[in-house]
Amino acid sequence: MLSRARSAMRLVTGGAAEAAPPAQPMEKSYRWFPPGTHITVRGLSKQFQGSVLYENFDLDLPRGKVVSVFGPNGCGKSTIINMIAGLLPMDKGEVLFDGKTIDETRIGYVFQNYREALFPWLRAIDNIHYPLKLMGLSRHERNERVEKLLGRFQVKIDFNRYPYELSGGQQQTVSIMRSLVMEPEVLFLDEPFSALDYEMTLFMRDQMQKVFMETNTTMVIVSHDLEEAVYLADHVLLLTRRPTRIADFIEVPLPRPRSAETLSDPVFVDIKSRCLEIFRREAKL
């Protein structure tokens, strides 16, 4: 059932996507979307300093899955998730979450630069409380939710400290917790681990995996590390150079929890090399 839903996943781009020919006639593309879809992007166009970044771009992202976005430098990986998350205006197009607009949807967003994303004037714990305050929850309700979240993340962090007193990994953990505490329908992560050292990155990947397995939140991760992109994802979204189209949408059918052994699993290695091949082809374009 699930795999059928996956195989029904269909992605259409404005231009001719060589790797993924549209399963449906293009004219009707904005009317139809596969079952199990959470996020639909239709006719998205974006110009950047006079050059076309996206032109009539369509995309369907599945519910309850982790999708990694990977592509050549400057193809607009972050730009696309920022537009979907409503952080960046698009020139044209429509994005719906289950048929709802962005304003009607609870969104979590984890920034690459945690130092500039957390509020240094608030203690770590108050940073996590902040989105709940915005939701207008009472102190009691907030405490309950935060306690629950702290229980889920088993990390040794002194949450009464200010962000700048914590290590990079701890700060990004706080930042991730802040985005999860409001129980978002969709969680966007923009290269969340790229500023961390390797050891911390490995730890954080597994934390994210745990969170995903427990909550089944739809996640979209931008990554510049192919291994990470494949390791974390149920689907890897490969983008071309600009004007950006979808190069391919590759399923990663590896079971969870994944671990260090997964990295040497033949299926993993195979998918990774397929992605790399496509990436090479697209980067040279």
């Binding site: 409503g86 952080l87 967003y109 630069n113 240094p120 004037w121 989105p131 939701m135 700048y164």
Partner: protein
């Protein structure tokens, strides 16, 4: 241990040196002893003036006027600065006006304010508040405009409305720069108030004491008043730096 003691005494050395040079100069009678009294005489005038003389009252009056004008300036300039900074198109359109009046010597508007508010405390406080508010406004607006965009986006994506972004992010983001503005603002207030006390129908204040001592040729009193003014400026700056350190603890981090 020895080094430690020396390091602690370091800042005092300059003071001792200055007094020493002053004292030797009076011994050698480099200048007319009436114009340059020995340091102990000036110190005695300062202590006498504070303990039994009018200097303490003058001191209090100057503080009162300076602080009041500063408070008025802050109350107007901080909210306005946050709003203008957040709407940078609006700021760009009034930037020239702010820059122009910020660059205008505040003393140049004394005649105008005298017409508006009459001779008295009101004029002094109004001119000082006017000068200080522009300095504060400018700094707050720039603090807001230079706010980390990521934090603003973070608040927006968490569901903050425009007012909440203003109060929860822009205000705090601009706070380090706001403090710089407030420090400059209160210094300017003090300068304007002291000048105003000298020349605009005053009966008290450090500025008044200074000009009176000069006219009566009471040089020790004049030096004492200069020191009092200096101590006041230094003290205000120190208070601000201390408050800033505890309040804007994240600054530069």
């Amino acid at each position: 241990m020895k080094m430690h003691l020396l390091a602690r005494l370091n800042p005092v050395i300059g003071v001792v040196l200055l007094i020493l040079v002053w004292w030797i100069a009076t011994l050698l009678e480099v200048a007319d002893p009436v114009l340059l009294p020995p340091p102990q005489k000036a110190l005695k005038a300062l202590i006498d003036g504070l303990v039994s003389g009018p200097l303490l009252h003058d001191f209090g009056q100057t503080i009162y006027r300076t602080v009041l004008s500063f408070l008025i300036a802050s109350a107007i300039a901080i909210p306005l600065g946050v709003m203008l900074g957040a709407a940078d198109k609006l700021y760009r359109s009034v930037e020239f006006v702010i820059d122009f009046f910020r660059s205008t010597p505040a003393s140049a508007v004394f005649p105008l304010f005298l017409v508006l508010f009459g001779v008295g405390d009101k004029t002094k406080i109004a001119v000082a508040a006017f000068g200080a508010s522009l300095v504060i406004l400018f700094n707050v607006a720039y603090g807001v405009m230079n706010a980390r965009k990521t934090r603003v986006l973070a608040a927006k994506v968490m569901g903050a409305n425009r007012l909440q972004v203003l109060t929860d992010v822009y205000f705090w983001e601009s706070l380090p720069q706001t403090f710089i503005g407030m420090r400059n603002g209160i210094s300017l207030s003090l300068v304007i108030i002291v000048v105003a006390e000298m020349f605009i129908g005053s009966t008290d204040g450090i500025g008044h004491r200074l000009i009176e001592a000069q006219m009566l040729f009471e040089m020790p009193t004049m030096y004492a008043a200069i020191f009092a003014a200096g101590a006041l400026g230094y003290g205000m700056n120190w208070v601000f730096l201390t408050v800033e350190k505890t309040f804007v603890h994240w600054g530069g981090k």
